[in-house]
C-alpha cells in the first residue's frame, strides 16, 4: 500500500516541477486566461466524480456523486468556454 502511495507522490512531485517549468514567464495580458484555463483543467476532478457516481453503491453515494459531477462539469465547460471567449477579444488590431 505504502509503495503505491509513494508512486503517486513521485508522480505528483514531478508534475509540479513540469508545471513550474512550463509556466515560467507569463505576460500580464494572459494572467486571467491562464488562470481560468488552468482552472478548467482542475475540473479534471470530474473523472473522480464520474467514477464515484457511476458505481451505484448506495443512494447517498450516488447523490453526492451526481452533485460532484455537476459541479465539475460547470467548472470544465464554463472554464474552457469563458477562456476562449476572453482570448477571442485579445486582438492585435481592431477588427482584426
Amino acid at each position: 500500500m505504502i509503495e503505491a502511495l509513494l508512486v503517486s507522490v513521485t508522480i505528483f512531485v514531478l508534475a509540479m516541477f513540469v508545471g513550474f517549468e512550463v509556466i515560467t514567464k507569463v505576460p500580464t495580458i494572459l494572467h486571467t486566461p491562464l488562470m481560468s484555463g488552468s482552472n478548467a483543467i482542475s475540473g479534471i476532478a470530474i473523472i473522480g466524480a464520474l467514477l464515484v457516481a457511476g458505481r451505484l453503491s448506495g443512494t447517498l453515494s450516488v447523490v453526492l456523486g451526481v452533485i460532484a459531477v455537476a459541479m465539475a462539469a460547470i467548472n470544465v465547460v464554463g472554464g474552457f468556454l469563458v477562456t476562449d471567449r476572453m482570448l477571442q477579444m485579445f486582438k492585435r488590431k481592431e477588427d482584426g
Binding site: F12, I67, V69, M89
Partner: protein, 464 residues
Amino acid sequence: MSAAVLIDGAYLIAAVLFIVGLKRLGSPDTARSGNMLGALGMLIAIAATLFSQEILGFGAILAGLAIGGLIGLVLARTVQMTAMPQLVAVFNGFGGGASALVAVDEYIRLGEAGASATPDVAVTIALSILIGTVTFSGSMVAFGKLQGVVSGNAVKYPLQNASNALIALGILAVSGWLIAAYDPRALLILVGAAFAFGILLVIPIGGADMPVVIALLNSYSGLAASAAGFVLANDILIISGALVGASGLILTSIMCRAMNRSLANVLFGAFGVGGSAAAIGPGADGDRTVREITPGDAAVLMAYSKSVVVVPGYGLAVAQAQHQVREMGELLEAKGVDVRYAIHPVAGRMPGHMNVLLAEANVPYPQLWEMERINPEMERTDVVLIVGANDVVNPSANDDPGSPIYGMPIIEVSRATNTIVLKRSLSPGFAGIDNPLFYAESNRMMFGDAKDSITELVQELKSL
C-alpha cells in the same frame, strides 16, 4: 488489450495535451489553441472514463453532466466581462467542491462496506476533504466580496489569528479521529470545520489583495483535484491537479512580488484597516493644496501632447468606463497623439483584470504596456491619465520608508510632465494609504464619476 490499458493510454494523451495546452497559454499568439488543446484533453479523459468497468450505471452520470454542462455553458456565454473575477472565483470553488465530494463519497463507501480505509488512504481522504472544502467556501466568500454581497473591505475581529489557529488545531484533531476509525460524525465535523476555515481565511482580506487570493484559490483547486487523485489512486487527477497547483502558485508569487509583500502578510496581515499611522484622511491635508482641472482643459492638454499614457485601476471597472476610455484613446490617436495603457500586475481584483476589461472594449493588446516596460518611457510622456487607480501610482512606495507600501513596485507616473487623476474624492484607496501624488505640482485632479468625466472629455475632444 484490456479496457483499463486503453483508458490509461487515453489519460496519458490527456496529460500531454494539458501540458502542451498550458505551455501555449503563456503566449498571446498561441493562447487560444492552447486552451482548445486543454479542452480536447479533457474530452478524451472524460470519454475514456465512461468505458471504465467501475461505472455500472449511466443515468445519474448523464444527469449530472447535462445539468452541470448546461449551467457552465450559460454562465460562460452570458457573463459580463466586468464580472469575470466573480466567475473565476465561482469556477475555482466548484472545482474544489467536486474534489471534496469525491473524497467524502469514497469515505462513506469504504465505511458502509465495512472495509474502513487503510491509514494511508484515510490520510489522503482527510487532506482531500480539507483542501477541497476550503477552496469551495473560500471561493464563495471571494465571490461574495467581488459581487458586493459581502463587505469588500478587510473584515477584522479580535483574536483573528488565534481563532484561526484554534480551528486549524481542531481540523488536525478531527482528521486524526477520521483516520483512526470510520465515523460519519468525524466526517461531518471535518467538513464543517474546513468550511468555516475557508470562510475565515478569506473574510479578512481586503479588496486590493483580491488578486493574490484568487490566484491562490486557483492553485488550491488544482491541489484539491490532485488530492482526490490520491484518494482514488488515479494518476490523471494527480498530474493535472499538480500542473494547475503549480501554475496557480506561480501566479500567486507574481502577485505578491507586484505588491512587495509575502504571502503570509497578505493572508494574515489584514492590510489597510487603520493599522498604520500613515493613513491620513482628507481632513488632515494641512497646507497641501490640490489643483483641479476641467474636462475641457484636460482635453486641450492631451490633444496637443505627443504621448499620453492611461493608467487604469479598479475604479475603471467599477465605473464601467472602459468603452469611453477606448473612444477617448481613438480620438487622441486620430489627432496624432501616441496613446498607451500602463498595466500594473495587481491593478483590479484578479490577475490580468485590466487586460480583460480593455480587451472587451476593443483596445488592441499591443497598446497595453506592462509596468517594467512603460516606466522607462515616463520621462518622455506628456500626460498620464490615472483612471480609478491609486496605490499602484503612489510615489510613497518609492520614497517614504515609513509607508506601508514602501518597496512595492509602482508605475512611476510622477516622472511624467503632467498627471491627471480621475477620482471621486480625495479619500485614500483600498489600502487606506495617503497618496502624495494628489498634491504634486504637476498633478491635476478631476473629481467625479470616471465614466461621466471621460464622457465629457470625449465631447470636448470632439469639439476641438
